[in-house]
């Protein structure tokens, strides 16, 4: 079984830019909503919390947010599966809905900071980069030699 991300370079270049909001709420349901009129309309800039901090509300619950860029070296994509898979083992396809370079990150009643789980999670990308960095044979030989010496010294 494999899943194909069904787009090529051309599709990607021509795809439309999306406007995304990352909401701090679990919403049970998918579908159309009048976001422009009932949400974007109420976004205000709140300079008292710092530059670029926005406020809004979702069902009366205060939101504090900011415009964030997709992490460096990454591109934001939104994919959608148009056909339901017939069975577990059948090949599946995900189609490209659009791309985005930045999005609005919202916190519930809290100014976005380094303490947010989202920001901490992004550090993992750098760690994974460090882990996947290849190791030269020269370094490896040196390490083996060093370990042998240590083993000789310790007993």
């Amino acid at each position: 079984m494999s899943i194909t991300l069904d787009f090529n370079g051309k599709n990607l270049a021509k795809s439309k830019q999306l406007d995304l909001h990352y909401l701090p709420a679990k919403i049970d349901g998918d579908g159309e909503a009048n976001v422009e009129q009932y949400f974007n309309n109420y976004t205000r800039e709140a300079t008292e919390f710092g530059s670029g901090i926005l406020t809004n509300a979702l069902r009366g619950y205060p939101l504090v947010g900011e415009q964030l860029k997709v992490p460096e070296g990454y591109r934001g994509l939104v994919l959608q599966e148009t056909e339901k898979p017939i069975s577990e083992s059948s090949d599946r396809q995900l189609r490209l809905t659009g791309v985005f370079g930045d999005f609005t990150y919202w916190n519930y009643d809290k100014v976005p900071s380094n303490g947010d789980a989202y920001r901490q999670a992004l550090l993992l990308a750098d760690v994974a980069q460090a882990l996947s960095q290849p190791i030269t044979e020269h370094d490896l030989e040196a390490e083996i030699a060093r370990n042998k010496e240590n083993a000789k010294e310790s007993p």
Binding site: T4, D28, A33, R75, K84, G98, V127, L140, I144
Partner: protein, 340 residues
């Protein structure tokens, strides 16, 4: 009356509930991804990315990876918070996850198969796990055979190459990987002590620079991160190789150190309280010298070398005398409890 009010406030059935239910089934789930620019097809590039499952040794089961037609591969990680969802243009997306590609070294995944099949004898890659499609695809189409030099002995005869798992090289290689990760953790000033949770609340730039950098904490964390891609027993071997004491041991040691600090602090406190006492006796001396309390002691002497003991004794005896005086003529308490 109040009952009536609650009945009246019962929500009316939503007229467009049915419509929205229909919409939910119509709109398929959207997924939000952060895909590395390195992987994305360039303009005019007609290749398509694929999501494939390969065995993940750390999880002990298959996990999703993104593969590029040219053989490049990245892990697909899922970032999920308990309560998150997306608004995409004018649509609600209940799937509040972010799927993110992170680079991964295919050698780490191949290591599991090498240990399983090539521990005793050298084998060529196309002979390993022929019955498992995903494994043979990993070994033959994605993995760079050159990278296996780091974890195995390579024997070549003619065009064919045979690989035999080499534990010594593997551990040295993993140790170097761990060091790379540890230095990245340090660079990013990620707090690695076991009290990390409390730091989460106030992870500011100031605190990060103040925090005590404990070499072993970084190495332990890095080893655990590398270990997430290893079989459990190999992770154990790596921990031993890097001579990392277990976390419990570290906590015990730290506690002992803290106790030492505390007892030291306690000593300081002790001297402090003594000083307070000294001051007390000074006050007593002053009282004496002021004439409010009659005493034969020289006030100067009592200030420089306080003599609280005779003072105490005397007051005690006075108390006792007073008690004895008050107790005159009263029955002994024991007399109440006599058996009659």
């Amino acid at each position: 009356m109040s009952k009536k009010a609650t009945r009246g406030s019962k929500p009316k059935p939503d007229p467009d509930a049915e419509r929205s239910a229909k919409k939910t089934t119509a709109a398929a789930l959207k997924k939000v991804l952060f895909v590395s620019e390195e992987l994305l097809p360039k303009d005019g590039d007609d290749g398509r990315l694929r999501l494939e499952r390969f065995f993940h040794p750390g999880q002990g089961k298959e996990a999703l990876f993104v593969t590029h037609p040219d053989g490049q591969m990245m892990e697909l990680l899922e970032y999920a918070e308990p309560r998150r969802s997306w608004l995409v243009n004018s649509e609600v997306c209940s799937n509040g996850r972010i799927y993110m590609t992170t680079p991964v070294d295919p050698t780490l995944l191949a290591l599991h198969h090498l240990r399983k099949h090539c521990a005793q004898r050298a084998m060529s890659l196309d002979n390993i796990a022929v019955e498992e499609a995903s494994t043979s695809r990993l070994l033959n189409e994605i993995l760079d055979p050159e990278s296996l030099k780091c974890v195995s002995d390579v024997k070549s005869s003619g065009d064919q190459r045979f690989y035999k798992y080499n534990q010594e090289r593997t551990l040295a290689w993993l140790a170097l990987k761990t060091r790379q990760v540890a230095s990245m953790l340090k660079e990013k000033q990620i707090h690695c002590g076991h009290s990390a949770q409390s730091q989460n609340f106030v992870r500011s730039e100031k605190l990060a620079s103040e925090s005590v950098t404990n070499e072993m904490d970084y190495t332990r964390m890095a080893c655990d991160i590398v270990g997430r891609y290893l079989d459990a027993d190999l992770h154990g071997l790596l921990t031993a190789y890097l001579q990392i004491p277990s976390e419990i041991q570290a906590i015990v040691e730290e506690k002992a150190a803290a106790q030492k600090r505390k007892s030291k602090a306690g000593k300081d406190e002790g001297t402090d309280s003594k000083k307070i006492k000294l001051n007390d006796s000074d006050a007593a001396a002053k009282l004496k010298s002021s004439g409010l309390v009659d005493s034969e002691a020289d006030p100067n002497v009592s200030i420089t070398s306080p003599t609280p003991t005779p003072l105490k004794e005397r007051s005690l005896t006075a108390k006792e005398k007073a008690l004895a005086k008050g107790a005159k003529g009263t029955k002994s308490i024991a007399s109440f409890f006599k058996v009659k």
